[in-house]
């Protein structure tokens, strides 16, 4: 693999972004489960849903790119 082109590393970086978003969303959900107030509900349903959608989107794009690289997709 030439040093200037490392798709594995780039994918890993995106995976880390997705994982951080995913973990933040899950922590927000746990906050809402632990104590339900209007504010925690807004975070655990509204904000967590948005973060989770972005995280899953990044993950799915990563999966699709990985499959494409291996010429499965």
């Amino acid at each position: 693999m030439p040093p200037e082109y490392q798709p594995g590393k780039s994918l890993r970086r995106w995976l880390i972004v997705a994982a951080v978003l995913h973990i933040t969303a899950m922590l927000m959900v746990m906050l809402g489960l632990a104590r339900l107030t209007p504010l925690t509900m807004t975070f655990s349903v509204g904000a967590a849903g948005t973060l989770l959608a972005v995280a899953c989107g990044i993950f799915l794009v990563g999966v699709a790119l990985g499959l494409r690289r291996r010429q499965i997709l």
Partner: protein
């Protein structure tokens, strides 16, 4: 939230969150395999696409259900005066009577402050978001006022079909005005105020 089964669902959702964080965190930050190994791929797949959406949906269901409770309304301090009066056995305000005598069995705030039907629930949730915004960011003015006109249909949904309601001459005479909310159920010559005035000023019910 004292409904049976909800505690178990909450524990299950909490456990699902923990496992989802564990799988994604372990595969991403602990193993750091490049290229990603098949076992890590499965962990990520389950963590991202199965457990996280499941935990989110369980929590959303619990939150929507729990947001109807009186305790939820009471978690904003501007509502404390209203709930104190609601739970005061000596209060003669309309809302308190409905609460004390369990004329409304549960979710008393939500029942009287949301319209019936699917769109009623949706409008109530949107209004709730607006309340959260004003409470936390936008600010609000005291005394608190209800937005627009109170829809009498919320009263009529239960009282309308009852014979003792229909037999009152004033109800019969003003049926159209009552149905369209042109005449409020709460007024000088009609029914007593639902809440104490001190509550709208965000004062404790004991202060009045």
């Amino acid at each position: 939230m004292h409904e049976p089964g909800l505690a178990a669902i909450r524990i299950a959702a909490f456990a699902t969150c923990v496992v989802a964080i564990g799988l994604v965190g372990y595969a991403t930050f602990r193993r750091r395999s490049t290229p990603i190994e098949p076992s890590d791929r499965w962990m990520l797949l389950v963590g991202f696409l199965v457990l996280a959406p499941l935990a989110y949906l369980l929590n959303a269901g619990l939150a929507v259900s729990g947001a109807k409770s009186v305790a939820f309304c009471d978690s904003c301090h501007v509502m404390n005066g209203y709930v104190e009066d609601l739970q005061n056995p000596d209060s003669e305000h309309l809302a308190s009577q409905h609460y004390q005598f369990r004329w409304i069995a549960d979710h008393q705030c939500y029942t009287c402050h949301s319209d019936y039907g699917l769109f009623g629930d949706m409008q109530a949730k949107l209004a709730g978001l607006r309340h959260v915004w004003f409470y936390t960011v936008g600010g609000y003015e005291l005394p608190l006022k209800i937005r627009g006109t109170y829809d009498n249909q919320r009263c009529l949904f239960c009282h309308g079909p009852v014979k003792s309601f229909q037999q009152v001459p004033e109800h019969e005479k003003n049926a159209a005005a009552i149905a369209t909310s042109a005449t409020s159920c709460i007024g000088a010559a009609c029914h007593v105020s639902p809440h104490p005035k001190s509550a709208a000023r965000a004062e404790s019910a004991h202060a009045s």
